[in-house]
Subunit: 326 residues, 2 copies
DNA sequence: TTGTAGGCGTTATCAT
DNA sequence: ATGATAACGCCTACAA
């Protein structure tokens, strides 16, 4: 592969001049700059980023870690973060923690080794987990979309509480009196936030169902059980789920049992992820503005890198999307 | 950040010894190796990958480019490729071409500049597009899941033709006589393959509907039009779609019009992507074994890197998934 | 078994 | 305005 040395030789100047010319320094005469650039172009020169990072002692790269890219929410996050990061002139290293704490730690280490200028971490859904091993490396880090408690890093988080409260209030306004909140395991930050929002808004009218996982399968199973338990006389008139996937499961089970949505039982989702509008009954849900979350996170991290103080928790507003299911 | 120099100083040996010890060379005595490694560990040493790549003239990295990570198919591909690549001891650079030819080219260039040892390219859905600018860089490249025609690179492709033929045959066996094939724009490789499979299997009983895009919205719109055109007397008894997202759209429109699935009209999907089982009527579809595609692609690329010849097109088998919609 | 020294491709600091 | 040269952190002959 051709290097500035080759260009220097070909254009009869020193490597220093080539470097300056290529970096658009104004120390160089207009014409040599042009000539050098032209020659570099003709020779198909591609600068070696590793040499540059070595000498500059920084990578001009930002890292992003998400638990599982197959989750549409994280996929969207990666997409938008990537955009924002590139727009800011940085490169991007994407990694996945596979919902495994040991793996997450390993990957954070890789990021440090790669001298990323900053790191965005979307933590996995595990409780009682910290980043203590990071104490020795003063890496600018920010959480996105969830966080570990007792971890002293800033976080950009959608307004879970408020979003959940809003959709709950809507159910109330539509006359629902016995509202089920269907969620996942206890303890995980973003789920607890949503529960909190629900409980505040629902008050007397609220009930909570915990599933083992926030998955389609667990939601259908739970719904079947609820229906069996009801045994003909429904003790609920709305089911609000913690994400859209679960809501899709709830919808399908209800429909198969001949229960009409939203007339008999209303259903609510959360996320407004791609298929929220592709469900059997278009889903009323809470839209997390993933683009805004991504952009906020990136711009905050950049501020942090620039040495500015940034708030411990930044909340991103959330929107109620009214379709047919509620 | 601490370097081998610091370790050398701390352990009273030369940097060369440290390097050898850290790389588990057997030129070093067992005890100095252990001591050096321990000290390195205590000091929190993380090797600088850029320095290493610079001197070794390779990155031990593989690249992967997909059009849009928000597409669940590509998300799964990234997930599995990542696994396979790491299992093989390589690092991974993930990038997105955002369905933009110019951008794709730019990213390929970044990969070259990053000296990836090999590149997996999942090309965008655009026609009449080549990689001619790559001729000057002998980068081991393989296509995954689709390919550009007239591009002399090996490709790992699911057996589109056969998969589509199988689901079509199933429709036929179930007594369907007037089968619609709903697809996207003409010319794109993977779509043309599927069409080919359909036409072969359906013969006289086949009809083709082209949408502008392979999206939920376009599928619903097309279905509405078909229904309007039918005006009460349906001229088809099955709709086979080119992916699951479109099939979900078809299902929902049919159901809203009170048409029963599969009794009156059967519906088929393609991909067996996450929500194939979450659709209103669980979708009969063709499962692409993305894990196998990913693993095959990685192992082939590694062979290629090792200097072996590999076949121009490797086909990965596909499975019919029988649910309720057909 | 270990140390010395040169170089990977850049940038940056001096001179010129 | 340009050129020589010394880093950056690591690996690897080759020498000791």
């Amino acid at each position: 592969m051709i290097s500035i040395k080759d260009i220097a030789k070909a254009s009869g100047v020193s490597t220093a001049t080539v470097s300056l010319a290529l970096n658009h320094s104004d120390l160089i005469s207009e014409q040599t700059r042009e000539r050098v650039c032209r020659i570099a172009d003709e020779m198909g020169y591609l600068p070696n980023p590793y040499a540059r990072r070595l000498v500059k002692q920084r990578s001009d790269m930002l890292g992003l870690i998400v638990p599982d890219i197959r989750n549409v929410y994280y996929a969207a996050l990666v997409h938008h973060v990537n955009h924002a990061v590139r727009a800011a002139g940085y490169g991007m290293i994407i990694a996945m923690s596979e919902n495994n704490p040991a793996y997450e730690e390993k990957i954070v280490e890789e990021m440090i080794a790669s001298r990323v200028d900053g790191l965005l971490l979307s933590p996995l859904n595990s409780v009682g987990h910290t980043l203590s091993y990071l104490e020795h490396f003063p890496l600018p880090l920010a959480f996105v979309s969830s966080r570990y408690e007792d971890c002293p890093y800033p976080a950009v988080i959608p307004d879970y509480q408020n979003g959940m409260a809003e959709i709950t209030r809507m159910a109330l306004e539509k006359g629902r009196k016995r509202i089920l909140f269907m969620t996942g395991p206890k303890g995980e930050y973003s789920l607890e936030e949503r529960k909190q929002g629900f409980l505040c808004a629902a008050g007397e009218n609220g009930m909570v169902v915990h599933c083992r996982e926030v998955s389609y399968a667990d939601a259908t199973e739970a719904t079947e059980q609820l229906l069996a338990k009801a045994n003909g006389s429904l003790f609920f008139d709305a089911i609000l789920c913690v994400n859209d996937t679960m809501a899709a499961g709830v919808e399908n089970v209800l429909l198969r049992h001949g229960i009409s949505i939203p007339e008999t039982v209303a259903v609510g989702g959360y996320d407004d992820v791609l298929f929220a509008e592709t469900t059997a009954v278009p889903l009323t849900t809470v839209k997390q503005d993933i683009k805004m979350i991504a952009e906020t996170a990136v711009s905050l991290l950049l501020k942090r890198i620039a040495g500015n103080k940034i708030p411990q928790i930044t909340t991103v507003p959330v929107t109620l999307i009214h379709r047919d299911s509620l």
